[in-house]
Amino acid sequence: MSPTTENTTSVPTAILLRGRGRRVPPGAAGSILLGLAGVLSVLLLWEIATRAGWIGSSALPTASQTLAAIPRLLITPEFWAALGQTLLSTLVGLLLSAAIALPLGTLIGLNTVLHRLLYATIEFLKPIPVAALLPLALLILGVTTQMKLGLIVFGTLWPLLIQVIYGIRNVDAVAWNTAKSYRISTLRRFGAVVIPSAGPYIATGLRVAAVTALLLSVVTELVGAVPGLGYEIRRAQSAVQFDVLYAYVIVTGLVGLLFNLLLEYAEKRVIFWKGAAAEGTR
């Protein structure tokens, strides 16, 4: 992985391949400029298409109208309240899910009998589309925060549990037994043996669960009319305020993007000793 070995090989290949059009990746500044150009071209295309009437519909405001609606949106208290509700329920749902999955997953991962008994059932529960349970949750709990949290927990619990179990079972038995025979305390054994090898799996599981939690927050708000960003999108639609609708969708996307980048950054920092492990999922 050291850069020196890269250099020694790249000289002869560069000579070998002169004139064959090697695709040189752009540098950091180049990437940013190209990306900026990409975003600007889409906005420009949008502006031209709506102004020239290619998409002849009042349902699509121009790009400039939409962008102008964003700052107007950002100064309304409704927006910040909705954002707060969405993010808060995402985090609380995630915490509840983790509070169940971490101890339970560790227990199942360590106990072979429990693993055989429960693992298939957990695998069965994972692919159930959680949105299908929304009407049931609405029926039983009504349009409440508990309903929203219940769905988030149900939707994030199984994948997270599977990651935790997988991570715990991935712990090297020899390392564990060695530590045990040296009479290293259970607590220290967890810190020195379990966390380093199970940590990456658990961290990936938590990141994916966080993204799912945000998604389910928005879904319940959209379909179940619980307060939050999803509800505001729906309201802008029925109020025929299309520029507000588009502004909300763009801001929701940006919030999601920021959330994703933060989580990926946090995962890399916390699990500094290993690249993203386990079932890679986005």
Partner: protein, 257 residues
């Protein structure tokens, strides 16, 4: 062999126990929200194992299949191209990351405005949201190939075409399959939500409408159907994935060495 069978039976123990408990626990249930399982299964038969299926499961499956396949084809092809051309990839990167982070259902009102409420809109919205996990995983798969392979290719002057078919594509395959698996879940979610918000048929519509009209057994039957659908899709995907990646597991699974 007997050990595998006994493990399989142990794994089935809990689901079976739960079903039995549901059956007998609800048999004489008077609770409005939890009707007897026998009643739910009767409605299940009437809704999905009769001509009524043309209005419930069939439209859902068509939307799901069309949307997913469209996204898979565009996502894998686009990903292979973008993965091999860093400049084009850099051009699209912020847009791709924006759309993969945007919770898909938030786009539904927008698609409803632009395309109306017909079936095509649902196919488009499923395809659009499913595209990004597939695209992104394919790009990552192409780019993450081992740099040493490229040097080997360069030294032996292996042609671009052979390089693509024998190195790039197989090297990206595990990640492409991951993208497709995640995409399938996204597609299923979008199918359900799009039918709930903008439809007059499909299983998602059935579930939400039954709830609003307090036809509780119908709602349960629909939920059961969607759960089964998720399960079956997962069970179908796994052998395909294992088959496609057989060489990969053979070289990476320490147990086989």
């Amino acid at each position: 062999m007997t050990r595998r069978i006994s493990q399989f039976l142990i794994a089935l123990l809990l689901p079976l126990a739960l079903l039995v408990w549901w059956w007998f626990g609800s048999a004489s249930s008077g609770a409005f929200f939890f009707p007897p399982l026998s009643k739910i299964l009767t409605r299940f038969r009437e809704l999905f194992l009769s001509p009524a299926v043309m209005d419930t499961l069939v439209p859902s499956l068509i939307n799901l299949a069309a949307g997913f396949l469209l996204a898979a084809v565009i996502g894998v092809f686009g990903g292979l191209i973008l993965g091999q051309h860093p400049r084009i990839q850099a051009f699209f990167a912020p847009l791709i990351h924006f759309f993969r982070s945007l919770p898909g259902p938030a786009l539904l009102p927008l698609f409803m405005l632009l395309f109306g409420l017909d079936m095509q809109m649902k196919v488009w919205v499923i395809a659009f949201t499913t595209l990004f996990p597939i695209l992104l995983n394919t790009i990552d798969g192409v780019r993450a190939r081992e740099p040493r392979w490229k040097d080997v290719d360069d030294v032996f002057r292996i042609s671009q075409q052979r390089r693509f078919w024998h190195v790039t594509l197989p090297g990206a395959m595990p990640q492409i399959m991951t993208g497709l698996r995640v995409g399938l879940q996204t597609a299923l979610l979008m199918m359900v939500v799009s039918e709930m918000l903008a439809s007059t048929n499909g299983v998602g519509f059935l579930v939400l409408q039954s709830q609003q009209q307090f036809r509780v057994p119908d709602m349960w039957a629909g939920i059961l159907m969607l759960g089964l659908l998720g399960l079956v899709l997962n069970l179908l995907f796994e052998p395909i994935e294992r088959r496609v990646l057989r060489w990969y597991h053979a070289t990476h699974d320490p147990a086989s060495q």
